[in-house]
């Protein structure tokens, strides 16, 4: 490798020089030059492999995520590559065009990286801390719930429902996220609650 590298270096360094240098360097059909190039180095050497499931459709293809660093050892870990898991019974290592591009989802320039608030009438989002954002959401929820919660209907039946704030759950979050979401939303007596099952 090093030798090959230095050969490349040398070629690259040969600018417009004297005929003597260039000719002497290259020679005719130098057999050595034939050995100058190897197959490109393999990209995944010394990476951490993590098993995961494709986030798109419900074929739920097994995927392998290759990262520099291991998040389970406390690294931030930088994901380099994602491809299909050949051991997975359904996809056998294959991935569709969406799955094959998963790295671009993780690294999308449109990933959200900070909480933000858009004030009424404003034309922009402004970054805020998590504390501010979460306190604000909790306050908005509580105020609306306290104001509009219906304990009994007109017939006096206990209905304990809240329908003036709506909730939508995701379609790609885990069951565990869904469970916690259900608990939090339902505990408030919220009825306007739906997911993405139909679209």
């Amino acid at each position: 490798m090093n030798q090959q590298f230095s050969r490349r270096q040398f070629l690259g360094a040969a600018g417009i020089g004297t005929a003597g240098t260039a000719l002497g360097a290259l020679g005719f059909g130098d057999a050595e030059v034939a050995l100058a190039q190897a197959v490109r180095p393999y990209r995944l050497a010394s990476t951490t492999e993590t098993r995961n499931t494709c986030t798109y459709c419900s074929v739920a293809c097994g995927i392998l995520i290759f990262s520099k660093g291991d998040v389970h050892k406390g690294d931030k870990a930088d994901i380099l590559h994602i491809e299909g898991d050949a051991d997975h019974p359904t996809n056998r290592g294959t991935l569709c065009p969406k799955g094959s591009g998963l790295l671009g989802f993780v690294k999308s320039p449109n990933r959200l990286v900070e909480p933000r608030i858009r004030k009424p009438g404003s034309d922009k989002f402004e970054p805020v801390s998590w504390e501010v954002a979460l306190d604000r959401v909790a306050r908005l929820l509580k105020d609306d719930r306290d104001k509009n919660f219906l304990a009994t209907n007109k017939d006096g039946v206990t209905v304990n429902r809240w329908t003036s704030t709506a909730f939508l759950a995701a379609s790609a979050t885990s069951n565990e996220t869904a469970t916690v979401t259900y608990k939090v939303v339902r505990s408030m007596g919220a009825l306007v609650f739906d997911n993405q099952a139909r679209v």
Binding site: G12, A14, G15, I16, G17, A19, A22, L23, L26, F28
Partner: protein, 223 residues
């Protein structure tokens, strides 16, 4: 009346090429050689080493077409400078009919030559034609800028024509250079701009006679 080009000393000195003409020629010569050397780099694996002169193949590839453009433009000026003297005359045909005398330098056996003899005219016209061919086909295969304009089939033919023309042009160039070396005093004509009267008498007697007679050789503009 004696042409001001003739300086009556001994030996007689004759102005053959003006400074501008010489400059033009040497620019052309320099870039033509660069063009040849860079072009030869992709001509054959045996000559690829020449790319080293230009800092490697990629530079040679990048520079070669620009050399071609420079040569074409420079040759265009040269062409207009020289075209007047290169009209084909009956004496040129006669000159051509005696190659033995040409090769042995027996110019007494040949018709008197004007500013250019038939061999030079052939060099001139063949170079003109080859440069036209090469710039035309060269543009077709100058992928960096013109890849989109022609089909691959056309490009393939263009590469072939370009390389055949280049072969011919290089051979013409070799003849040209050799002739200059062989005929002593020719190089001086293009360096100092002057030749001796004897040189002119020996190789371009009609030209000399015309200058002496104050005639402008029909195929010769004011130098």
């Amino acid at each position: 009346m004696l042409s001001p080009q003739i300086h009556d000393s001994y030996p007689v000195a004759v102005d053959r090429y003006s400074g501008l003409t010489r400059l033009n020629h040497w620019i052309n010569a320099f870039f033509f050689v660069a063009l040849v050397l860079s072009g030869l780099a992709f001509y054959s694996p045996y000559t690829y080493f020449l790319s080293g002169l230009f800092g490697g193949g990629a530079n040679a590839r990048m520079l070669h077409p620009w050399f071609g453009v420079i040569v074409t433009i420079s040759f265009l000026f040269l062409f207009f400078r020289f075209v007047g003297g290169n009209g084909w005359k009956p004496r040129d045909t006669a000159w051509m009919k005696n190659p033995g005398a040409v090769l042995s330098g027996d110019e007494e056996a040949l018709p008197e030559a004007g500013k250019y003899n038939a061999g030079q005219k052939i060099v001139f016209w063949s170079m003109t034609m080859l440069i036209i061919i090469m710039i035309a086909t060269g543009l077709v295969i100058w992928d960096q800028y013109f890849a989109a304009y022609t089909s691959i089939e056309v490009k393939r033919a263009a590469v072939l024509i370009h390389s055949v023309a280049a072969t011919a042009a290089i051979i013409v160039l070799i003849i040209h250079i050799y002739a200059a070396i062989w005929v002593w005093g020719s190089i001086g004509a293009m360096t100092s701009g002057r030749v001796t009267g004897g040189w002119a008498w020996r190789h371009h007697r009609k030209w000399l006679r015309d200058l002496v007679a104050g005639r402008v050789d029909g195929d010769m503009p004011k130098a």
